[in-house]
Symmetry: C2
Subunit: 214 residues, 2 copies
DNA sequence: CTGCGGTTGTGAAACGTTTCACAACAAATA
DNA sequence: TATTTGTTGTGAAACGTTTCACAACCGCAG
């Protein structure tokens, strides 16, 4: 898929996610083709950037015409690996965990929550959207025997490292963490952090340094 | 605060957020000073980066000794503008909105949710952590007469642009958006997006391109 | 008060990403 | 067929960020 031995930057991948969503909308609006110029305008990017990003993975457009919307959308889905479904487990079904379980878009996109863990006796055994909450003490064994590929961590910061150690021990290679803390994982485990406080802090900084044109 | 006419990059600000949290932990662990080397190690960054980031804002360390933990933490809080409290409004108290209202860390950090809007008749008038939910139809007037500085958008994507237009019309200059869509705002309004799907997609991409050492 | 180990602050080099600019091509029109 | 308009794909230039490397300095020991 990727042109051999070319390192793709994080920003490029993030923009592919953006293109993917934009193309879905364009399809709904019955566009058949889209130029890099128009796509860039819609997403506040530059046409050159759109073309360069795509060119890392192949040549999907037609000169003079632009890119075929549906085809490009599918191509990007393939590149991102979202043209399939992924088995996801959630650890910690509190405020944010519950919100994630109830979020239909993730399921629609192919991210299927198949296991939920918690250590609260009142929650263990309860049913969340058809999934029975397991005891967090069993994470290692339950994950090892499962087909889970991605684990979402939504437990308090203080216990997050402990949980993530278990998750890693169970052989999981991809983790999405909501605790505002830097988790330590081996090099072969992919870890992404979702840190809302950081975005609020960015807004705070922007407001404080307003005249400086950020 | 910022050295005159120097543009600070987004990455630098994000790292300041990281340092801030790290320093808080160090304080709890009774560290009095910390070297850029040690701080970098803890947060998987480089010592040079730590020093360069801080140097944009002044000179906070002592050669031979490192940085004073508490003092530096307070300095960074001042730079980020989080040494004060901010009045926040939330629009959409569904799954994710409720999670945010219940999240104590934001309040502790000084981000105080003071108003909540929704358009669901069953929710309007109800009480969430001491705040009565207002009718979303009144956003413009209610926000205009208020001291709200930051608005969090947690409504379905389809209505997010409409809501954000109201919010902008009310004179709000900082918005944190959870809807997975590119919102259009005037140049003088700061908009940050929290897009969880994007992080899941990044993990998916990483897993699919594993051998390529991402 | 000199020398040494340790660390900052910062210009300059190295590196990475974005933007530019244009050849190559597609379609439409005359 | 020739010409015009529009757009991609991509090397090369411009720009921005990270890393390097070292002078300047601190505290301490002798
Ligand atoms: N709520 C938010 O809006 C929000 C926003 C940003 C970040 N976060 C972060 O997300 C995480 C969860 O936040 P929350 O508000 O949902 O907290 P919460 O207290 O509502 O939920 C935490 C859940 O984890 C469970 N838990 C605790 N220890 C556990 C363990 N050892 N093993 C398994 N489960 C355990 C608890 O029983 C609870 O169900 C925290 O790290 C928080 O900082 C939350
Ligand atoms: N739930 C999640 O975990 C999650 C994760 C990522 C992103 N998001 C995004 O966050 C947003 C909210 O998601 P959710 O799961 O909380 O949805 P939800 O349906 O649970 O909540 C949406 C809330 O917005 C209210 N609302 C609808 N139209 C409104 C209007 N015109 N004015 C004011 N309020 C209105 C609804 O009454 C409801 O209370 C969506 O854009 C979603 O894509 C949610």
């Amino acid at each position: 898929m990727v042109k051999p031995q070319l390192r793709i930057s994080e920003s490029t991948i993030h923009r592919l996610s953006i293109y993917y969503r934009a193309l879905n909308r364009l399809e709904r609006e019955n566009y058949e083709t889209i130029s890099s110029k128009e796509l860039a305008k819609r997403e506040k990017l530059t046409p050159a950037q759109v073309r360069k990003d795509l060119s890392f993975f192949g040549s999907f457009g037609t000169r003079g015409l632009g890119y075929p919307v549906t085809e490009l959308r599918d191509k990007i889905a393939e590149i991102l690996g979202i043209n399939r479904s992924w088995s996801v487990a959630l650890v910690g079904v509190g405020n944010i965990g519950s919100a994630l379980v109830s979020y239909k878009e993730f399921q629609k996109q192919g991210f299927r929550i198949r296991k939920i863990f918690d250590n609260d006796q009142r929650k263990i055994g309860s049913n969340h959207k058809g999934i029975i909450v397991s005891d967090a003490d069993d994470i290692v064994t339950e994950l090892r025997d499962s087909k889970i590929e991605i684990v979402v961590i939504a437990v308090p910061s203080l216990v997050a490292q402990m949980i993530v150690d278990d998750v890693v021990r169970a052989g999981i290679k991809a983790i999405l963490n909501f605790a505002p803390i830097n988790l330590k994982v081996p090099d072969d485990v992919y870890l992404r952090n979702e840190n809302m406080a950081m975005e609020l802090e960015y807004l705070s900084f922007s407001l404080c340094n307003d005249e400086a044109q950020l």
